[in-house]
Amino acid sequence: MSLLETRGLGKRFGGLDAVKDVSLDVEEGKITAVIGPNGAGKSTFFNLLAGFYAPTSGTVRFRGEDITGMAPHKTVKRGIARTFQTTHLFDDSTVLENVLAGRVVRSKENVFDAVFRTPRSRREERANLDAAWEALHFTGIEDFAHDPAGAVPQEVQKRTAVALALATEPTLLLLDEPAAGITEEETESFGTLVRQIVARGVTVCLVEHKMSMIMSLADHILVLERGQTLAEGTPAEIQADPRVIEAYLGTDDEDDAAAAGQSTGQSAVQSTVEGRA
């Protein structure tokens, strides 16, 4: 049984099918990537996985449980965490405070505990701090713990978002274009972080544009085009798939297509690209 499986998942806005009939299996311990040219429906599909959109058709199962249409606050409890494309953080709070916010879902503390400072509340605060520091340490940003989240560099913000998500103790982490807006070098170290997350026991599924990162990172790739599944398979299979190259060349993503070819040095793709240029 896969960790997360979707069957025939679809989302219709008005008269438009943003996502149609997509089936995907996310295997535990593997890195799954969802790619596709602009407008392919990646974001919509992602929001469907994370529960931020309710599907108009199809099902989503997590660990065997049907979570179709379940509200995000419930899926987070069950172990699905997500980051956002444009980093959503508490800008006025410190990095540490941000990560502490991620502990909310695992806290049993309620108003009375807080006001009366019961032993439970104090115990939880300690445990929360421990978990938060651990997440900061893991993502390598403990130096920035007391800085306002709005003031730290882009890379630190992205890692804060990841630490925040990790603080919710997820089984599955959904990353929404984590490499957007950071340098090549930072992208590489981010890739390392992703592998470490998986090694820690958290399955990762990401949506990403940067082909270089995807091809060297992902175990399994789903390619979407116009909201539907175009191809699915290992990086090698995807790179060799002419339909994928077609889809990317048909749009303005030539760089992506070229990069896809380049990252494993596949000359077949390269010559195809050059031949068409």
Binding site: H73, E97, G102, V104, W133, H146, S189
Partner: protein
Amino acid sequence: MTAPVTAGRRPAQRSRWLVLGLGVVGAVVLLGAPALLTESDYTLRLMTMALVYAIATYGMNVILGFTGQLSLAHAGFFGIGAYVTGILTVDHDWSFWAAFVVSVVVTAVTGFLAGLLALRTKQEYFAIYTMATGFIVYLVISRWSDVTHGQQGLIGVKLPEGGDLVDFAEPSAMYYLCLAFLAVAVYATWAIRRSTVGRTLIAIRTSEDLAKSIGVNVGLNKQLAFAASTTIAGTAGALYATTMGFIGPSVSSVNMTFEMLMFLLIGGMGTVFGPIIGTFLVVFLFELMQDFQAYRFLVIGPVIVALVIFAPRGIAGYFQKVVARFVDAPSEATTKTVKTRTGEGDGVVPAQRAAVPPALTKEAR
């Protein structure tokens, strides 16, 4: 393996001590006021009224300051609290404390019910919906003369029964009673702010999407925060009725809501001391400007606009930012880098983490 980990030490928080010090001074002044004001009953009663308003403003702080929802029905619930107490004691000869309890329960329940409807709507609608709700309450109170005495108002609201211990006819006794309630409100705000509950509400205020992504049940929490705010308003209303002795429909008017909004804005939304600072400041300013009554709203309008544009955190927030920058030691200027771990995350809990004072949450504004 990685090098030994040291948790970043908290930069010296001298400003924290400053705030604490000021708080203590404030508390002493408030506690000692009746002793200092033996000559002036009027001023003492004014302060008592300010205390009651401040309590109501703490209620608004919960729903607006922490949760980020603008409830324009706030005075409506203040009015409900005042009128339930008033009607029960004046027309039905109940004792104050019994009526007080009923007031609190009624405002809690009606607040929860109103919230059920209000919070299914989106944010912009919420403000309008609460404005309408508040207006309906005002209409009911001012028109339902049989029960509420309409425009005449209620006269002769009973004083709290103090048994043989306290005579609440004494202005200072009333003052301390209200001060006690205020102290509870301040403490509760402080405790909630640094707890999971506070983080939950602030998450909702910052970004509902972000809140959802950390597992917050946004709808339910908004509703609870709203019910809490109405209950606090109702409690304050009941106290208002007994301190004033007489009440009229205007206590539930939208103008009253706007005044409390002003107190909160000036003092600082989402802060612990904001409501009390804002309320006292404005109440006394208005007192001083008695002769210029007509012009006070002329000034207040632009003040609200300016505050919201330039200093939405009010005095308390401004203080924290500015003073903290001058008074606190700058964080150690070590070169900060993002650490890359070799190998797997080792799950090490930094040894010195325990040295971080729990009040680090104070810096989050």
